[in-house]
Structure formats: C-alpha cells, structure tokens
Amino acid sequence: MMKCLTILFLLFSNILQAQDPDHEPKKEFDVGIGIGIDYGGIGARATFKPISHLGLFAAAGYNFNSIGFNAGGQWHFPQKRNDFYITAMYGYNAVIAVSGDIEDKGTYYGVSAGLGYELHSRRRPNFWNFEILVPFRNSNFKDDVDALKYLGADLMEPLPIAISIGYHFKIL
C-alpha cells in the first residue's frame, strides 16, 4: 500500500512539476508518415516530446495483413541539424504470410528497440526520420515459424533487424 501511495505521489509530483511555469519545458509535437514497424507498416506516427530529450510516440499503419500498432519512447541526443536518439517500443514487429496448402497471414507483437536519426531541413521545421531496429519476436511467432517449417512451408528466415524511413511534419 505504501508503495502504491509513493508511486502515486511521484506521478502527481511530475504532473505538478510539468505545470510549474518556472520549469515549463519546450513541448514539441510532430506527425509523420513512413514505412517500417515503427509506422505500423505503411502508416503514420505521432510523436510528442513533453520534455527535452524525451519523445513519446504512437503509430498505426497497414502491415500487409491488418492494422499494425506501435507505441514507445525515444531519448534524444540533439545536434545542430541532426538528432540522434535511442528508441524502444511495443507493437507489431513481425508478419507471416503463407500461401499454398495453408493460405493465411499473421501479425505478431513484441518489443523492438534501436537507434533513430532525424534529419532536419534548414528551411522548414519538417524532418526526415530514419531508424534501425532490433525486433524481439515473441514465442508465438517462433512457434508458428517452426510449425510452418515442419509443415514444409517455404520460408525465408526473417532479418534480425528492421529499418524504417519517414517524413515528419512539425506541429508544435
């Protein structure tokens, strides 16, 4: 009980701190479109930076099977024009499509992590976004891949990394 109260206190203290005008951070918000698991496949991603360095994002897109979701956080290391960050997210990170005797597709969710790079334009606030991600695929995915292999499906081993590219529009 004491732990819960402590956590609640810390949460409220953060909120209160965020509302303190003396420490009001520079808030940023952008929306981007792109390709990659951090865009839900082919989709859009909205990123909110409540404080400097920290970005929180959510993405949804079409992953060639269904709507794929992803949400996570970023920790930025700003440069002059460029912006590097590390990112981690939870959401779809694998799709299996099989044809033949078994004709089906599946979407699998899990944690992905990686590095990102924002390439900002001199003239505009919009920027290009690139990420290289390591998807940690879950046991369902592994079981299904193993089963499909056992059943003789012609599968290509999924790459251990994923890349994404997107173009973002600065809103705030």
Binding site: A58, I96, D101, I102, D144, A147, L151
Partner: protein
C-alpha cells in the same frame, strides 16, 4: 473529454496489440473429453489434424492420477492414445482435471473426469480369496493403500463363513490380519462362489470374490482296483475282487470282510443263495464260503477264466478268455472234475450270466461279427449249447448281458433288450432298446419290485464309462432321468483335483432302495486312479 479519448486510444492499442496468429492446421481430440469411472478406468482418444497433415504431438501435462500412453507420436488420426486412471490409492471421490497435448501447431486440452464410486484402495490379500478343500480357516490381510484413514466393514454373502474382525479402522498404508472361517457341515461337493462386501465409511464400496472349494465324500474308498463284482441280494453283500482278495462289503455300514485267494481273481460269481462265490483265475477256479469268508477249495481249470458262473447245481462254468473256438469248462465242484460243454463250441471272450431259473446260462459273444447271444442248458450239470438268438445282425448284443431279476428279459451291452423264454421260438426275441446314442451299457441292474432299471453307459467316443446313472422303467423301458455318480477328490503334487467317476459295477440292494456302484476315478495322466463304492439313493 480528453481523458475519455486517451482511454479509448489505450484500449484500442491494447486490443490491437494481440497476436493475430497464422491459422495453422488444427489438431483435435476425439473424443474431446474423457469420463472415467471406477469400472471404466481406461479410455482412448485419437488426435487428428484438419487439414490432415502429419504433425507430431507430445504430452505436456497430465494429473498424477492418470497415465497416458504413448507420451508422444504422430498426429495421424488413427493410433489411439490410451488414458488409464491410477485408482489403486484413491478413495471414493470425483476428480476433474485435463490432459494437455502439445502439437507442432498448438496445444490441445482434453478435460478428464474420474468418478470413483468403488475404490480399490482398500484391498484384501491373497486375491482372489480361495479356501481350499483342506482349509477350514485362513488368514486374510486387509490393507489401506490410500493416503487417508478409512473405516472399513466386511460382510460375508453367506452364513456358513465368517470374517473376524468384521470391521475396523486403518490408517494410511496400514494393514491388519483377519481370519476367514468356513463351517462345511452343510456344504455339498461344489465350488462355492461367495463374496465379502466392503463398506468404506459405512457406504457400500466393492465386493471381493471368495471361492470355497468343498468336497463332500459320499463314497467308500476301496484299497485297490476292482477286477469284478457281484451282488448278493439275499444277504445284501457286495462281493468284489481286488487283486488276490475277495471282499464281502456292506456299503451301508461300510464294513468289509476279506478272504485271501491263492491267485489274483479275474472274475466272480455269487451263488443264488449267497452262501458261496466262485472266483475265476488263470487256469484255476476257487470256491469261497461267503458266510465264513473262507476259501473252500481251488480247482484246476484248463483255461484262463474270463467269466465264471456259479450255478445252484454246485457246478461252476468257466468261460475262456483266450483262443478262438473254445468250450465252456464245466467244473463239478463236488468232485473237481472238468468237463467241456456239449453241442457247439463258444468263442473265447464270451461273457455269461446265470438265468434266475438256475437251469440256463446266457452268453454274449465277443470278437464275432455280427455279435450274438447264446443259451446253454446246465440242468444236467454239463453245459449243453442250445441255440443262439434268432437274429443275425439285426440287433446289437455287443458282448455283454445282464438278467432281469425275474428272468423275463435280458439286457445287452448294445442297449437292446430281449425276451427270455424256455420256448426257443420266443426266446431272445426283441423287447426294446434303452434310449441313448453312441454308447453301450457298462453296467446294469434290474429290480422288478421297483420296476426299475439303472444303467451306466459306456461312451463309445471317449471309450470310457460315463459318470451318471440312466434310469428306465422296468416294463416299458421309459427313460426316467439320470443321477450323477459322485466324483473323486484326488491330492496331487500338493494340490487337489476333482476327478469324475466312471461307473463299473452297479447293483440294487434287496429292497430296491439303494443302488451300490463300484466306481473308479477317470484316468488322467499323472493322477493316481482310485476305486470306491458309491451309494445312490433310489427314489
């Protein structure tokens, strides 16, 4: 409003973040659930895939009270997987659990229930419980194999046996020794199938079979093999030859008097007044005084005696055992002189009986085809061959014969019955047939005062006498039923064997109230043969 939107987004995200797995071939179990009981502890299921592709399965979970065999294999829709409930330590209860099978494409859960209404956790040993012929009580161990304390109670299915103590309490894995006792005084020769009913906690649980082997000795065991026997209705004595002794037996009182013979006896004939008996030997014939049970004299005979007739004229007639065409040896017991019969010769092997008139002997030949019967006149002392039957193959005589006690009929081994007369035209004429098939007569007796014929048949297929008496009316030869001949209980190699009897020589007593029969135990390899006299009550 913002909060609602935020929560909606979170929900949408969480719902959307569930794996939408690929649809792999689905494995199903048939039946999809199993219901086991105390009486149905084993069941089977079959795994099949849709579409029917070959997958592998393995057992990933089962409750401790189940065995699943095999534990892995191909999903082929054919091979049954056996599920067996391990009920040996479980008390009455209802258990529910599941079997989890992992296949190449997923898991299959098969719900399993086990309803134990009849627990086997409490056991009696030895099992099955057998009280053998020589046991009047035996120790029985009761054991509680469960992990709980049980209150037990045992109830015998009949009053002639008991279990002591009949109830108690057993802790987990505890045993107790009980005593099962049998009172055999009212039991017959039979294997009694009884039970001990077990109650656990006052509730009927199960029954344990109890076999009680009982043999009621109704015979008089004889000390040796009977070679021949005749009955003296005047003195109600059964006269038998066993080896080189002649026995005078009173079966009702089981008293016996013996007289030693100079040679092993081969045949015996009791005189009509019961005072004397003639005993045939190989080349001799002995005259025995049955009143004093003394050997009077032994006379030389020029034949090996197969059969002998002691006639009231104080002559003995010996029927040869060997050679072909022979003569009856007629021995004048007053002088010891041997004479041969006049008229036609007889064939060796002929069996003979004295006609109650005392003036004739009838014989049934052996070794000739067709079999026939003959008549000899002994009124003059020396036997004279009179004639044979008027038939030539129409009726079976089959080599032996028995007289009706009033001399009106002759019963033959071939089950045919013939009228007897002093007039040749009507002598040995057909008078009927005793019912039966594939059998001849082994022994027979007739008693006119009861109008009864008791016969034991000889089974042609097994080549052995039967173990039942066939009953016929004396006049119309109607079949009146059968009576079993009691068997033998023979000890062999520390065990017991019930062996059927074979009836050999049977006789009514003078009142016609008893039928005494010399019986032997059926010949079984490795089992000693016993002889006895059985007494059958005549209804």
């Amino acid at each position: 409003m913002k909060r609602i939107l935020f929560l909606l987004c979170i929900n949408l995200f969480l719902l959307g973040c569930r794996d939408d797995r690929i649809e792999l071939p689905k494995v199903t179990a048939n039946p999809s659930q199993l219901s086991l009981t105390s009486d149905h502890t084993t069941d089977h299921f079959i795994l099949s895939a849709d579409p029917p592709v070959i997958l592998e399965w393995s057992l990933s979970y089962k409750p401790d009270w189940l065995d699943v065999s095999p534990a892995s294999g191909p999903v082929d829709g054919m091979n049954a997987i056996t599920v067996t409930a391990k009920t040996s330590t479980l008390l009455p209860q209802l258990l529910n659990d599941k079997i989890v099978i992992t296949t190449t494409t997923g898991k299959v859960e098969i719900p399993v229930s086990l309803n134990i209404t009849r627990s086997i956790a409490v056991q009696l040993s030895p099992a099955p419980l057998l009280v053998d012929y020589n046991e009047n009580s035996k120790s029985v161990i009761i054991k509680n194999n469960s992990s709980q304390t049980v209150n037990w109670q045992l109830e015998p299915s009949a009053t002639y046996f008991s279990i002591t103590p009949a109830s108690g309490t057993l802790a987990a894995n505890q045993t107790s020794t009980l005593t099962l006792a049998v009172n055999r005084s009212t039991l017959d020769t039979k294997i009694y199938a009884e039970t001990l009913a077990l109650k656990i906690g006052g509730v009927n649980n199960s029954t344990f079979p109890v076999s009680i082997n009982n043999f009621k000795e109704e015979k008089w065991i004889l000390d040796g093999a009977v070679t021949d026997a005749e009955y003296d209705r005047t003195g109600d004595n059964l006269i038998v030859i066993i080896g080189s002794k002649l026995y005078k037996l009173k079966p009702e009182t089981k008293t016996a008097v013996t007289v030693d013979l100079p040679l092993p006896g081969t045949c015996v004939s009791v005189g009509q007044n019961g005072q004397y008996a003639a005993v045939g030997h190989d080349a001799w014939v002995s005259l025995v005084n049955l009143s004093t049970m003394t050997l009077v004299q032994t006379y030389p005979v020029t034949a090996n005696a197969l059969d002998v007739v002691l006639a009231p004229n104080n002559w003995a007639y010996i029927f040869p055992k060997v050679d072909q065409w022979q003569n009856i040896r007629c021995i004048n017991l007053a002088t010891g002189t041997e004479m041969l019969n006049t008229g036609r010769q007889i064939y060796a092997g002929t069996k003979a009986k004295l006609h109650p008139s005392g003036n004739y002997i009838y014989g049934a030949n052996n070794g000739l085809s067709p079999s026939d019967a003959e008549k000899y006149d002994i009124s003059g002392g020396q036997a004279n061959f009179l004639y044979d039957s008027p038939y030539h193959g129409q009726y079976e005589f089959s080599g032996n014969l028995w007289m009706a006690d009033n001399g009106t009929k002759m019963f033959t081994r071939g089950r045919t019955v013939f009228n007897l007369s002093t007039n040749q035209a009507s002598d040995m004429t057909y008078a009927g047939t005793l019912a039966g098939s594939s059998a001849g007569v082994e022994t027979l007796d007739h008693i006119s005062s009861r109008n009864l014929v008791y016969a034991v048949y000889y089974d042609y297929s097994s080549q052995t006498p039967q173990n039942e008496i066939k009953i016929f009316s004396g006049d119309f030869l109607n079949s009146l039923g059968t009576k079993p001949i009691p068997g033998f209980l023979i000890t062999q190699a520390g065990g017991f064997q019930l062996v059927p009897s074979e009836g050999k020589y049977g006789f009514f007593n003078s009142a016609g109230t008893k039928f005494f029969i010399c019986v032997k135990s059926k010949t079984i390899t490795g089992v000693p043969v016993q002889w006895a006299v059985a007494t059958i009550n005549v209804n």
